[in-house]
Symmetry: C2
Subunit: 346 residues, 2 copies
């Protein structure tokens, strides 16, 4: 620290703790301490520093701080398809919860799961403290997290053999509840409007529904291929209606948007009455499922509790890296709408 500070070399540098120190007439260390939560600074010093800081508009440089503390106070959130209508709420809640706890959110909104690699590469470089992931990762990718000792939490994805923590909605239970209700109401023929084959969430819901129906002795279940989207559902229903198959009593849809697409198409293109001729059920409890045109019978995911849990769990593991992974499963909430004839147990 010689004195290469002859005024006149006014580069566009932003104001640093040294500037504040000089103006306040204290050491740079003193300034630093004023911004550290549990530090011991006298009232007088603190006051001088605060005045100087305000005068200069000083804000500590988070990057420099992170460099030395090796804590960036930021987490990455990876979401595979934001346009899914279910994720915006998740993201909003995550973002707000993290914000309240002073954590910045780096968003990676993937258009396709193939972009995962580039996202991860950015994540490694950026020294995030943890990652919340609502996309599928390969085993190797998951391993890299533990190698780098970065806490990873899956949101509604399987934590493949507990290599990471996870927060999930109980997909199987939700589907089960719906199927039981439909069976109890006397439905005997069923169709299953599925999601993309590579979606774990989707297949869990589908498998559970299939299992519940088969247990009840239902043997033929028409399977329709969808992709979580309105259009996918519409096309699937069109294909089905143009075949000569007869209408099932109920259609179990992999998610709400599919269910809405199915309802709309059945009603508006084929004049099918819902729920009189066909019962339709969904899954998720997204906003539009409550719109009066649909009034969908569905399972609502407790998004707020799930996101809060996700934030708690990941931050706990940032604080205490040796903490074991944990999986928390939340039951969905049955929403009785008017899109299905259904009898609940109680």
């Amino acid at each position: 620290m010689s004195e290469p500070k002859p005024p006149g070399s006014d580069r566009k540098r932003s104001v640093t703790s040294y500037d504040v120190a000089r103006l306040a007439g204290v050491s740079q260390s003193a300034v630093s301490r004023c911004y550290k939560p549990g530090a011991s600074v006298s009232q007088k010093t603190r006051a001088k520093v605060e005045r100087a800081a305000k005068a200069l508009g000083y804000q500590p440089n988070a990057l420099a701080r992170s460099l030395i503390t090796s804590r960036s106070n930021s987490v990455a959130v990876i979401i595979s398809n934001l346009t899914n209508l279910y994720y915006p709420e998740v993201l909003a809640q995550l973002s707000q919860n993290f914000s309240q706890r002073g954590i910045r959110v780096l968003l990676f909104a993937l258009e396709s799961e193939s972009e995962v690699d580039s996202a991860l590469s950015q994540i490694w470089q950026y020294q995030v403290d943890g990652v919340v992931c609502a996309a599928k990762l390969t085993k190797d990718q998951i391993t890299e997290f533990s190698d780098r000792a970065i806490p990873l939490l899956f949101y509604n994805r399987q934590a493949g053999s507990h290599a990471a923590s996870a927060v999930c909605c109980d997909q199987a239970d939700g589907s089960h509840v719906l199927c039981e209700g439909l069976l109890r109401a006397g439905h005997t023929s069923f169709a299953l409007l599925k999601g993309p084959a590579d979606s774990v969430v989707g297949t869990e819901r589908e498998d559970s529904a299939r299992a519940a129906l088969e247990r009840a002795g239902i043997e033929t279940i028409t399977e329709l291929k969808g992709d979580f989207s309105y259009e996918g559902a519409r096309d699937a229903i069109r294909r089905f209606m143009e075949s000569d198959a007869s209408l099932p009593d109920a259609i179990i849809c992999v998610n709400d948007v599919s269910a809405i697409g199915a309802m709309d198409t059945l009603r508006n293109e084929f004049g099918v009455a819902i729920p009189e001729q066909v019962s339709v059920v969904g899954f998720d409890g997204v906003g539009p499922s409550g719109w009066s045109s649909f009034d969908l019978t569905t399972i609502r995911q407790p998004v707020r509790r799930m996101t809060r849990a996700a934030v708690d769990m990941i931050l706990e593991r940032v604080e205490t890296p040796e903490l074991a992974n944990e999986k928390r499963v939340f039951s969905g909430i049955f929403m009785r709408g008017n899109s299905a004839r259904i009898d609940m147990a109680d």
Copy 2:
């Protein structure tokens, strides 16, 4: 740099350029150069470094880099209400465009506009290169951006007297087009389902609609208070229908979600036929506006072009800070649905 490196002090440090240098048998500077685009490194050196880096799983620390270059390669995106159904697409597009250009996105999803201050404070500390803002800022807040020389771009908000750049959809023009079409089709009595009073986007649309109607000699326009949401629209319609006013020929809604709420309520609660008894128009062109239950007549915002422009403009200004602010206005696209009787000029 003495040698305090007797093996055994294995702290959980991550692998640095020094580690790579040692393994590759070159200087740390050489390693650094290999990661700088236009640097001069011999083939041989580069090869050695690359092998070592791969072996160690080295990734440069972006924070350290940013500290010295004073470029974080990250931008902040501020969005006031992500649950708006219009914003998720915007956010997804912004995120993808930035990602492709190697820029990280820090997300600030505000629940209420009062959280702006805390978001800004985080933004200052984080040394972002630029900010895209879809929320209202005060004059002082805008000024702080120019004081700190951080490029700011508003998305669909007025850039108050050109203190910042902006990308907007032409709200006034869109409303105008819709009103003209409705007038041409012979509608003579109108209701305006408004947004929150403090929304600039909303009032622009409303003012333009009002002006177009008044120019055509329409004098009484029923104004209904909404808040951009389905529920707000539903409640407004209920209040209206429970008054003894007679149905207008057309309802001009401030956005699609309001329009959907209005349609649903009119149809399903009051048995009003749309568009036979009432025409309904919206604004935005969100996904659900195309669902067959609604098939909304609306103005679609060219989101992809707008977000691309936003990304281009902000990054241009990061590269070239002296660039003047700019405002780019995009015309919306008329979407002829079946929710309104409407005649277009051509």
